[in-house]
């Protein structure tokens, strides 16, 4: 038995299956892009720093997929629920005229609280629609984003930075954070290394959240969630309340989504309202899938690798494409890769093949 396993590990085709075709393709594509970038004489240092920034910027949004996948709900296609919570929190901090790190900290805390509350009710909904979480989640997300569009118009915000300058109704589509908490994390302890700007604060913050999620997955509750996700009937037979595990999973996921968008906004420098959050969940889902997760299993490593690969691809593809073809290509590539990745995950047979359906 042991011997059989050892020879198995040496097999080349097994290595490919272990790494997975999508990652191999993406890695080689990335490599190809990097070489072309070097040949075209693009500033590599700048590219690397921009990859690092975007890793930290998107990381927490991708991390939000882990608790929902682990608790058996699958990828959280309703992540936009968390995102709008984060946006409310961020706009609130401006409305209260807060500045700098305190504004950021305030936004994070309010985002987490709002996200948890919303996540709880979202979890109650998802517990009633077991098996259809992805479709229901997607459309819950879509409708909440549309509903929030009405909110952004009608909400009684007063801050002149946010409302339309010439008597229009409601908030602007894009709100700048320049005088608020623009890049407070990015610039924290930032330093330069071989032409590469390291956004230390941002990366540390992301690492902190990775660690917290990792730690959580090893607690009693985290393990209960894992059991509930991988086999609900096993969990029940072990005296675990599956429904509450799922709710915990989605609460954490939604809260992480809320925090994630605040981090995203501080790095980006702008808050984007209205329909901007509509497709965010899809990119987060695609990222973790690129990292090697399936719709049933996901780890921190998947999230980190996936975010890195996906963002690196976009960062490198953009200038290369600009040089070679036309602009805007990277947006198209982003759509194709992310949705292609999700399709691949949806149609792929889960390892082990226990998923044979009746009929």
């Amino acid at each position: 038995m042991e011997e059989a396993n050892r020879t198995e590990a040496l097999n080349v085709s097994n290595i490919i299956t272990a790494v997975g075709y999508p990652r191999l393709i993406i890695c080689s594509f990335l490599l190809f892009l990097l070489i072309s970038a070097a040949l075209l004489g693009l500033p590599l240092g700048q590219l690397v720093s921009s990859i690092l920034v975007r890793l930290g910027m998107n990381g927490i949004l991708v991390l939000a997929m882990i608790p929902s996948i682990q608790s058996g709900i699958g990828p959280n296609f309703g992540l936009s629920l968390g995102v709008v919570c984060g946006l409310v929190a961020a706009t609130l901090s401006i409305e209260l005229d807060m500045v700098g790190l305190s504004a950021f900290a305030f936004s994070i805390i309010v985002a987490a609280i709002l996200g948890s509350i919303v996540g709880y009710f979202y979890g109650l909904l998802l517990n009633r629609v077991k098996g259809q979480e992805m479709t229901v989640g997607t459309y819950t997300g879509f409708s909440v984003v549309s509903f929030m569009c009405i909110f952004w118009i009608l909400a009684p915000y007063k801050s002149p930075e946010m409302i339309w300058p010439y008597g229009g109704d409601g908030l602007r589509v894009t709100i700048t954070l320049q005088d608020r908490f623009d890049k407070v994390l990015n610039n924290l302890f930032a330093f330069k290394l071989f032409n590469v700007e390291i956004p230390t604060g941002l990366l540390l913050f992301f690492a902190l959240f990775c660690f917290m999620v990792w730690l959580f997955m090893r607690t009693k509750t985290g393990l209960a969630m894992l059991a509930a996700g991988s086999n609900p009937r096993f969990a029940e037979a072990s005296g675990i309340n599956v429904n509450s595990c799922r709710i915990i999973g989605i609460v954490i996921s939604t809260a992480l989504g809320a925090i994630g968008i605040v981090v995203y906004a501080q790095s980006y420098g702008f808050i984007q309202l209205y329909t901007a959050p509509l497709f965010m969940p899809f990119f987060a889902v695609a990222s973790i899938l690129i990292g090697g997760a399936s719709i049933k299993k996901a780890t921190i490593t998947h999230a980190v690798i996936g975010t890195f690969l996906f963002q690196a691809l976009l960062v490198v593809a953009l200038p290369v494409a600009n040089e070679v073809v036309a602009n805007n290509l990277s947006e198209v590539v982003r759509i194709i890769i992310s949705n292609g990745m999700i399709l691949y995950a949806l149609t792929r047979k889960e390892a082990g093949g226990d998923e044979v359906e009746a009929g």
């Binding site: 629609v129 229901v136 509903f147 569009c149 009405i150 497709f279 198209v332 949705n339 949806l346 009929g359």
Partner: protein, 374 residues
Amino acid sequence: MKLKQGNTEIVKQELWQDKFRLDLYGLLKKNAVPILFAVICIIGSYFAKLPLKFLLNFIIIRMCRNSFLVLSLIIPVLAGLGLNFGIVLGAMAGQIAVIAITYWEIKGIVGFALAALLALPLAIIFGWLTGMLFNRAKGKEMIAGLILGFFANGIYQLVFLFFVGTIIPMKNEYMLLSTGVGLRNSVNLKGIHYALDKILEVRISGLEFPVVTIVCIIILCLAIWFLFKTKLGQEFRSVGQSRQIAGVSGIKVDKIRIIATIFSTVLAAWGQLIFLQNLGTLNTYGSHVQVGTFAVAALLIGGASVTRATIGQALLGTFLFHTLFIISPLAGKNMLGNAQVGEYFRAFVAYGVIGISLALYAWQSSSKKRTVEE
């Protein structure tokens, strides 16, 4: 055996009674969704303060424009594939054909007919691919169709933004961007504008009816009705009820599912053509994007569900959804002083109604599973 017959009579009676009871107080419950939206529409029209004739004309235009697309969803629903969000691919097939005939400058009804002919093989191929994908994602067809729509949209953009003018040789200053690469955001379709609608138009007391388009829609309705009276239709329904039992009875389940998807995709392609000839301009990168969502929402508002849809529901749903579409910006403006609120409201309604009916479907099927187990 006597006893048996006695039993039969009782069973028969009970079943009839059941039916009768359902008719009495089930009617309201069964049609709750259309009734609710009818009420919203009535209230909305009141606040929109549109002259009735004006409103009715708008509704006729939009019904003619969209019914075909909504009707294209019925077959997959009955074949157990759920709501086919993949009709976006059909719409793309239609658009590709329209772009081609516009480029070749073939005008009028000939151009329209040629576009319909061109769209057919494209839609068949797209439908076949979609069907294969659905067969690999059984039980997840809806989310797969949705994502497939996004994915195909990416490919579509790639082709028409970057390949046109480079890999695909096209030269036409009205259609291409100033760089000579990529199609413009909007393409004027004056060649086939009203190609179908204006063949024969009848005015009845101020209302304009594009007769030929209406005839097309009626023919489609009849065709669908006919289809479900044939062997093939029966196979669709059998597969829709249970893949397993249909398979045991010797029906080739996967093949039937692919055929259903192809039908739907082809109809969507033609539906998009009707839509575009009425509109007169092609929003190259936007016209198809919301086709799936809006058609699905319309069908659901008509009272259909993931597993049940009728022609009547499709038409009623189109009527209600597009009435809502027309009135909500105006009503929003008059009620809240902001037209945008109304626009967001209708997006909210479209998404919300899909979300709710999907949730209800999941809810019912999970509780049904429970009772079956017992």
